[in-house]
Symmetry: C2
Subunit: 275 residues, 2 copies
């Protein structure tokens, strides 16, 4: 693991690191915020998964989560959203290939060799963070847009790995959306039954979640047709899953929306990770 940068921030350290990923077959960059409380012993971790086109950097610089992480004593990990670089397959579209890993393990050409973000986030990067940072085994997960999809699907598929769960404006029903059908088809093939494990709305019905879930969605989000929040909200209610689903009047899809509700999400995770 190499250190790219470390900056003092709210009494803790915002770091950016890279490592040779075996899972993705390329060097991967990620960011970790360690709060000041980590000096006194291991702290819980919140995973923040980012959306389409993002790297580790967008939320790190724009979401304002460090302030809240320092308040509650929680580390935050910001993974990249896909493998990158020469030799890694890509597509001209912004929503496929590099920057658009969708948190699945691709099985199809040309994506299969590198696009393994499911294993990368749940196994390899998790192990690396556990080994190299003062964190304990209490992990929460959240994310925005494609990253909200990632948070929901990873948590519901791997309930032993995560103790708390939330999402900002998640892609809620990708198997029925243009933000999903193209990508799941490209990465996983045309057998739609294989897509169900990566669709939050379907997972709510099939596997559910062991705890409760917080979801915020801007009511003026410019991508409501693609995100399909109504499918997830309906499924959560139908499956009687303890959850708070908030339609936030006037908010759009931007980081202004994420940062506005960042404290609420950090507090939600803190209550479940520290309590």
């Amino acid at each position: 693991m190499q250190t790219i940068s470390e900056n003092r921030c709210y009494g803790g350290v915002q770091g950016v690191y890279s490592h040779a990923s075996k899972v993705c077959g390329v060097d991967m960059t990620f960011a970790v915020y360690m709060p000041p409380q980590a000096k006194d012993g291991p702290v819980p971790v919140l995973w923040y998964l980012s959306g389409l086109t993002c790297t580790h950097e967008n939320a790190m610089t724009k979401a304002g989560l460090q302030e809240h992480a320092a308040e509650f004593g929680i580390a935050v990990v910001f993974p990249d959203t896909s493998p990158r670089g020469e030799g890694v397959a890509n597509d001209d579209a912004y929503d496929l290939g590099q920057g658009a890993g969708f948190y699945v393990n691709a099985t199809q050409a040309p994506w299969a060799p590198h696009f393994r973000m499911y294993d990368y986030v749940t196994k390899e990067l998790r192990d690396l963070v556990q080994k190299n940072f003062a964190v304990n085994s209490r992990h929460g997960i959240t994310g925005h847009s494609m990253g909200g999809h990632g948070a929901l699907t990873l948590a519901m598929n791997e309930p032993d790995l995560y103790q708390s769960l939330s999402a900002f404006a998640p892609i809620a029903h990708p198997s029925q959306s243009d933000w999903g059908r193209k990508q799941l088809s490209a990465y996983l093939g045309d057998d739609e039954s294989l897509w169900a494990a990566h669709d939050a709305t379907l997972l709510v019905k099939s596997k559910g979640w062991k705890g409760d879930i917080l979801i915020d969605q801007g009511a003026s989000d410019q991508f409501l047709d693609l995100l399909k929040p109504e499918a997830l909200a309906g499924a959560l209610a139908e499956a009687r899953i303890p959850s708070t689903f908030r339609m936030q009047e006037g908010y759009d899809h931007s980081y202004y929306f994420v940062s506005t509700f960042g404290w609420d999400h950090m507090a939600w995770h803190a209550e479940r990770l520290l309590g």
Copy 2:
């Protein structure tokens, strides 16, 4: 005035606007955050002046000030740092010309026709903001690096316009720094006596300030040799100006430093603008 974008943020609105500037002779872009309290009547304004290479956007997206502005009910204006575009003089160096206006009115070729950021910020944009937004006549000013220099020098030169003053890692003594000598020479000419009105350390000695001043400076700032905080700290003490000058252990020059102490500065201004 044209609206480029408006996003709901912490219950208020983060807007980006452009207008045809008479002072700068080009279209200028700026950002304004209006807190939710502005619905109930005019609110005070904090001017945030940015540093070298920045536009209106850097602090708007990275400094996290909206949260604090919404807490206290203060509008924040983020001007650009220079005129820009075709027909506007520039230099290959990052620290001269576009993105590096230094908050002076240039008198020298080729800068004089457009580089009039002093008048732009203190007069034209101020009038525009007063006319188009629900703000009252209580104005504070702050800024980072070159913008900290701008905040200090504009306030000390125009004490009737500003009721509160702070700075983050300001260029504190530009007439004796490579961040200053080149630019003041280019914009104002070689008569160094004309530079004194744009040097915070010299202004503290000559004009002083009617109120008190808050300054934060990272002790691990990579630009300490250029910023020369010791000159300003010494001058403030020597001139017996009520002030709080904090060397913050471990912090560098980045927005992680600015955001960490953003609440403190907003609270400082709130106490003086709302009190």
